[in-house]
């Protein structure tokens, strides 16, 4: 797979909601390359969900263009886009409707009019990837919130889209559920899918994504590596975002301690501290008071 090929191109995208003429996106431009794992963050009402809906064609640009896998969303049906982009909504209950998990997951591929064997294969793979085997014949609304979210992800996976978009997939999930969902996203990324995740969960996004686009009031504030984005807490404040607590700790420690100024996970900072202490123990140097 070509790692440099652009798969999503957003050009001067403006979107205005009627009837109050709310300008949700005010001229946004960026590209996503095939196989990237991108986080999207920013304050409530910054336009993140509006952007996602423009990418999947549920909304069409007021002005500007969105090109997905070479197709202009304005000249492409939502059905056609759905074979290329899968969209996992914020609230799984808005998207579940079938009687069993198996039927739910099969619904998308059935609508592609695939052969029965192919449908079964896709459903098997999607259910296995999300670890839902034991729930295959269960009624989706009866599952736990974490498992309902996984059913939605499975039903999107069964469409085998190249691009997978997750809109706040971990909202309302507990600690375990959050990591399970993000691990699925990471696995998809490793298998070559392009993954976009919108979230307010900074520790999770710091741990899992390599690149972040930051939105503020309908515009892009930052578009950089995860480490670079979280190294600019003053800019992030403008869009009501604070870096993960562990990153803030690394930033707040005196530089004289010789620890890296940026840490994205507890393990990263923990490891740096352990190494630093080992170094001191084995080659003691005079400690300067900080």
């Amino acid at each position: 797979m070509n790692g440099h090929e652009i798969t999503i191109a957003v050009e001067n995208l403006e979107y205005i909601y009627q009837p109050h003429s709310v300008k949700a996106l005010k001229g946004v431009s960026f590209t996503v390359r095939r196989g990237e794992f991108v986080g999207i963050i920013g304050q409530n009402g910054a336009g993140k969900t509006t952007l996602l809906k423009n990418i999947v064609g549920l909304l069409l640009p007021t002005s500007g263009r969105v090109i997905v896998d070479g197709l202009d969303t304005r000249q492409t049906t939502v059905a056609e886009l759905a074979t290329r982009v899968g969209f996992v909504l914020q609230n799984p209950d808005q998207q579940l409707f079938a009687q069993t998990v198996g039927e739910e997951v099969a619904f998308g591929p059935c609508n592609l009019e695939l052969a029965e064997k192919e449908i079964k294969e896709r459903v098997d793979v999607a259910i296995a990837m999300t670890g839902l085997e034991e729930f295959r014949h269960e009624f989706p609304p009866a599952l736990s919130k974490g498992d309902r979210a996984k059913v939605v992800i499975a039903s999107v996976l069964a469409m085998q889209p190249e691009i997978i978009i997750l809109d706040e997939p971990t909202t309302g999930q507990d600690y375990k559920g959050c990591h399970q969902i993000m691990r699925i996203a990471r696995q998809l990324h490793r298998e070559g899918h392009t993954v976009l995740v919108v979230t307010h969960d900074m520790p999770l996004i710091a741990e899992y994504t390599k690149h972040i686009i930051v939105f503020r009031q309908g515009k892009i504030l930052l578009n950089d590596t995860t480490a670079a984005v979280f190294s600019q807490p003053e800019i992030l404040r403008r869009t009501h975002v604070t870096p993960p607590q562990i990153t803030q700790l690394a930033q707040a420690l005196p530089r004289e301690l010789g620890l890296p100024a940026c840490a994205l996970t507890v393990e990263q900072l923990g490891q740096s501290i352990v190494e630093r202490i080992h170094k001191r123990r084995h080659a003691p140097v005079r400690y300067r008071e900080v």
């Binding site: 909601y17 109050h20 709310v22 920013g42 304050q43 409530n44 009402g45 969900t49 914020q90 609230n91 736990s144 919130k145 974490g146 706040e168 909202t171 309302g172 999930q173 507990d174 600690y175 375990k176 559920g177 307010h200 900074m202 520790p203 404040r237 869009t239 009501h240 975002v241 604070t242 993960p244 607590q245 562990i246 803030q248 700790l249 707040a252 420690l253 005196p254 301690l257 010789g258 620890l259 507890v266 393990e267 900072l269 923990g270 501290i273 352990v274 630093r276 202490i277 001191r280 123990r281 003691p284 140097v285 005079r286 400690y287 008071e289 900080v290």
Partner: protein, 288 residues
Amino acid sequence: MDQRESHVIFNDVSYRYPNTRRYVLKHLNLMIHKGEFVAVLGENGAGKSTFCQTLNGVVPHSRGGQMRGQIAIGGQNTQEATVAELAQKVGIVLEDPEAQLFTTSVLSEVAFGPENLGVDPKEILRRVHWALEVVRLTGYENHAPTTLSGGQKQRLAIAAALAMRPDVLVLDEATSQLDPMGTVEVFSVVRELNKQYGMTIVMATNKGEQVAQFCNRVLILHRGELVAQGTPREIFADTGLFQRIMIRAPQVSQLAVYLAEREMPLADLPITLDEARRGTVQLIGGSD
């Protein structure tokens, strides 16, 4: 206000939903004092939402099912009181704001509660403006709730509860869709209401860092049982607890556990950024 009025007392409370055999709350015995800010933590399915709904009587009055034991809110037995009576004492904010928003404008949404309490119209407007200001929604009075973003809807639901000026405010994962500073703001606002008006706060959440910063006490529910309670420091220092139950402790506490496992303990298990900073400086400084 009577000192006893807002006490919440659970006396051996168990509950199961209709047509189920499994109890989702099991033998709960606990007390919440007036003016406390209590966090309820636990994995999904621990019974947090059910617990919240017992406080305003929706469980069992609207949900049905079977409740054993007694809950007293301000001396009133919830099984004997109506939901309407309890609503004058207990305000609740649900996890999914769409489950509770229903009017056509932000203004009428917030005014609905006090209107039904028969509050003077001038006072209603004062409360509406105050509540909207508190949640940063001033200027949205005429917008339809359906046009708001997820986080805005969540803040509107909080404003609607605040306008009732309840003695006890219950929030069920009410910051789950908010941005990081919005989350801190809601915790600060709630803390302010708690201090200024002595409002008792019960908040189901999974945001350990804010719990450490703002709450007086933590209850840990696990499969319907109360398995631990204490100050945030006592709870987050209990590493044994976190091996059994997947709860998100503050990252600085997780760091302390990581270092302790490698025999490099930070002095006094930190639960805030400042404490962790001091501990780390001390640890590395003292490692010569």
